[in-house]
């Protein structure tokens, strides 16, 4: 499984960024080979449409799962739903590690 976390930092102890469209970064974790990679998302300069660009970026990484806090907005959802990715929400207060465990234990809610 390839998992994207919306994150405020680049390691397992970092907090989840509860926002999807304007998340500070993605952390891409691949369970197949334990690879772990942080990817900056630069949306500060965007007045509108940040969610769309973030969704496009997410799909370029072809994840199976996205783990975030509040979930994606309507426009981003429109893009994400074109793929088979599953989005889990409700990890806003957790660290990446806690969020991953919560996901494994089926404690997170599925947005779609």
């Amino acid at each position: 499984m390839k998992i994207i976390f919306t994150a405020k930092g680049d390691n397992w102890e970092s907090k989840i960024d509860e926002r999807f469209g304007r998340a500070e970064m993605f952390v891409l974790f691949d369970e197949a080979d334990d690879s772990f990679k942080a990817i900056k998302i630069e949306t500060e300069h965007m007045e509108h449409g940040a969610g769309l660009q973030t969704a496009q970026k997410a799909l370029e990484l072809s994840p199976d799962v996205i783990i975030t806090g509040n979930g994606a907005g309507n426009k981003a959802l429109d893009i994400l739903k074109r793929s088979s990715v599953k989005m889990y929400i409700g990890a806003g207060e957790m660290s990446l590690k806690e969020a991953y465990e919560a996901y494994k234990n089926e404690k997170l809610n599925l947005q779609f």
């Binding site: 509108h48 660009q53 893009i79 074109r82």
Partner: protein, 283 residues
């Protein structure tokens, strides 16, 4: 001459003032036209007993994806400053609401796969009432680009009413729609109320108008409530206070009935007269 009636804060009385000022000037044989540029929620028309004379569709140009030659290179999405295009590996998705009609994607597409096409965004209506015309821009539900329609509404007036005094009822705030509604104007009248909220938003509006290099006047509505900080601010900034409209429940009652206030309330009429004279002197 173009005069924009604006305000930082919403609900300060822009529309009440615009409609009454237009009606007052028309009654005094002035050649005046009123434009409702609050295209996201135009409401001047509610206060005008007028007849709809024309309705013109307002369009904007947006790209449409022609997939036949597309190589999915993604140049269009990269070049778009407004994030209106998402390029996926097998689909190009366009969000017309976000498009500013800049043509960059269409012109720069290596395979000409994004021809521009016209799309409806709203309408421009002309109402004829006692002595003056009202032009209303009205954005369709779900549309986000107020600026284009405001520009088209101003063009409509510039073409049809060259020599008239043009009063523009602007949207509230200080963002792009307000700038579009003021940038061509000779004078900006800022309506505020004498409260900390009023002052805060007036300050933002004044700062914006300074950047645009606009001549300003301030109208204090609901005078008598709050404090005197707005007056002190205007004095310090050397901005003339054109009128102080007394706080009076009877004005609100008139407004709520959709009636012209100046015809019924003397002190309000006196304030409108001061504003009319200020504009006249300015001319």
């Amino acid at each position: 001459m173009r005069v924009t009636i604006a305000s930082g804060k919403g609900g300060t009385g822009k529309t009440t003032l615009s409609v009454n000022l237009a009606a007052y000037l028309a009654k005094h044989k002035k050649d005046v036209v009123l434009a409702d540029l609050d295209v996201e929620e135009p409401n001047s028309q509610l206060f005008i007993i007028g007849e709809e004379k024309s309705c013109t569709t307002a369009n904007k140009m947006v790209p449409h994806w022609d997939k036949s030659e597309c190589t999915y290179c993604g140049e269009c999405a990269d070049i778009c400053n407004f994030n209106a295009i998402v390029a996926l590996s097998d689909e190009i998705i366009i969000y017309p609401q976000l498009c500013h009609s800049c043509y960059a994607c269409s012109e720069l597409c290596p395979t000409n796969s994004l021809p521009m096409q016209s799309e409806r965004i709203g309408e421009i209506k002309l109402f004829e009432s006692k002595g003056f015309d009202l032009i209303e821009g009205r954005l369709d539900l779900g549309q986000e680009m107020a600026v284009g329609l405001i520009a088209q509404t101003i063009d409509f007036i510039d073409k049809g009413y060259e020599d008239s005094l043009k009063l523009f009822d602007a949207p509230p705030g200080t963002s792009c729609p307000v700038i579009e509604a003021t940038k061509k104007s000779d004078l900006v009248l800022l309506v505020t109320e004498p409260t900390p909220f009023g002052l805060n938003d007036l300050t933002l509006a004044v700062e914006t108008m300074k950047v645009l290099g606009k001549k300003m006047g301030v109208i204090i509505n609901r005078y008598g409530i709050g404090d005197d900080a707005v007056e002190a601010y205007c004095k310090a900034e050397h901005i003339p206070i054109v009128a102080k409209i007394k706080n009076d429940k009877a004005v609100a009652e008139c407004y709520a009935r959709g009636e012209l206030v100046y015809e019924q309330i003397e002190h309000f009429k006196a304030s409108i007269e001061q504003i009319a004279n200020f504009i006249e002197d300015y001319r």
